[in-house]
Assembly symmetry: C2
Homo-oligomer: 332 residues x 2
């Protein structure tokens, strides 16, 4: 019997690897549809991300990390919208050479974050493809009616804030990828491992959701690079911003990389895969938001302020003022 012939069929596969992710309260994936039960006065925030092997991750990345990240990028969106995770659906197109071990590890990584976030799998679809492994997750979160934090809403005078540190994901991709640039050798093992981990295992800022919902005037998660995503938020809100690039928070490993190659600052500011929160808040709400973030031990750093001129972003720092040619990661 070939190993291919001994692979489980669709229903065994769901039973073995996906049903355990459904959580105790759900329908156990026994039906052909999932169910969301918003509490009275709540609305459902919906977000979707697709990931393709060879485009969004390396085909030989640890499967558990792929599973973790596929859900993490969606939970990051929900957090930015002020929503509490409630469940997700997964569609997965398996390539010809999939193995049961791969799928088992994938489900383990996915399930770990699903459990940590209290976000069960409520449905999905498993199909085959002649192409690379393709994942699509749609995730659901709850917000009090009318309280979803949007991109629209930033007002002149608002403070511009980011959570955590910026650039680790983009630098981590270089450290992790097959073509390592020279500067990677300038980092020590610990620094390399922190950056790689930030790329492979982004931590969605779910703990900030409630504070954002209460205090942010606008928010989005940073997935395509700070500079590009800021432009999207400003465009939606019809305002501009003044940003102090020196204030953009960097991790110790990122600072070590920039010490080796100062030009990497560009990558940190424009690269993707941060999965941090970019938000704005009025001066009055700023302190309440900061206090709530501190309570959850999440750094929240002011990097600038909103100005009235629509679409104008003035970046300044030690190097004087500057602009960015290429704002954002483009998907094709």
């Amino acid at each position: 019997m070939s190993s291919q012939n001994s692979r489980p069929g669709e229903f065994e596969l769901i039973e073995r690897y996906f049903a355990p992710l459904a959580g105790p309260g759900g329908l156990g994936l026994l039906d052909d549809a999932g169910l969301l039960r918003p509490g009275r006065g709540y609305e459902v925030v919906v977000t979707a991300d697709a990931l393709v092997a060879g485009v969004h991750f390396f085909p030989d990345d640890p499967p558990a990390a792929i599973g973790w990240k596929a859900l993490a990028v969606n939970l990051s969106d929900l957090a930015a919208k002020g929503a509490k995770p409630e469940g997700f659906v997964l569609t997965i197109a398996l390539p010809r050479d999939w193995t049961e071990n791969w799928l088992k590890d994938f489900a383990t990584g996915l399930g770990k974050l699903a459990e940590q976030a209290g976000c069960p799998l409520i449905g999905g679809d498993t199909v085959s493809t002649t192409g690379p492994l393709t994942l699509s997750i749609t995730a659901f979160g709850m917000v009090p009616a009318g309280r979803m934090v949007r991109r629209v809403g930033a007002k002149p005078g608002d403070v511009v804030l980011v959570s955590g540190t910026i650039g680790d994901g983009a630098l981590g991709l270089k450290v992790h990828g097959p073509d390592k640039p020279g500067w990677v050798a300038a980092l020590d093992d610990g620094e390399r491992s922190v950056l790689t981990d930030r790329y492979l295992h982004p931590q969605p800022r779910t703990v900030l959701a409630e504070a954002l919902q209460r205090h942010a005037s606008a928010a989005m998660d940073i997935s395509d690079g700070l500079v590009g995503d800021l432009t999207k938020l400003l465009t939606a809100s019809g305002v501009g911003a003044e940003i102090d690039l020196d204030a953009v928070p960097l991790s110790a490993p990122a600072r070590a990389a920039l010490m080796a190659v100062p030009a990497l600052a560009e990558l940190a500011w424009t690269g993707g895969d941060d999965y941090e929160i970019l938000c704005t808040a009025s001066r009055g709400d700023y302190s309440a938001l900061s206090a709530a973030a501190a309570e959850h031990s999440v750094p929240l750093t002011a990097i600038g302020r909103i100005v009235p001129e629509a679409g104008v972003v003035r970046y300044s720092g030690k190097g004087g003022t500057r602009s960015f040619e290429r704002g954002s990661f483009s998907h094709f």
Copy 2:
């Protein structure tokens, strides 16, 4: 300038082809998340289906038909669950050689059904792939709390019913596909065209949703073949059934095909792509359900009854009793 270089980027593409599908009430795809607002006392039914070019449709199928069908298969699930369509998200992985014309026609077909069903696009993601075009749609419908029709719920004595006619999709696939069997020549142009259309443009039975929600004891849509899907429903409900194969409703073109090759009955009963409703109802509810279906001009045909023996299905017909080796379309 090559035609590839002149293709729109992600944001132009959303603006040109997907934003018009968002409907007047939505956020216009301007945010990074969609929003569902269930009325008080309502729950959200969630269903997801992935479709891969070369697996679920022919790569050179009319793009408008691909768009239509991608949504139709999800709306069919919602109808079976008794849910009124409310919105959907689309993730699409575009192959290297995608063209703007393809995408335009795809969005037209998708939008036609979205408008007809009152089911706007509320979000999604557009990425690139080195493999075949891959679509994933997650669709949402509303039901009064606790009223989602499940696979669980069929009881001994219940009538087993199917909507419309069975087998047209599977026969239509043969008529439409590149390797046409001999019997296709025995059909006239009109018959061929009806079957092809049933394969390319399934009509989700959305009009039955409310009646199912009120009167069905269990339901699912038939996507993987009547015989296999019936087994799933019976297994979930822990019951068996007696089915009269002669009662299974066939369209005139399907009857013409079976006249040419009687063995095609097997394909009609076990082939997929019906997107009709399979449901059960108590004798008391049966007449109310039939009356509601008649009101919407949807044929609903009794094909058997539920028996207590779990997992046992007795098929009978002119040819005596029989069983099925291969119950259902397997996805890999």
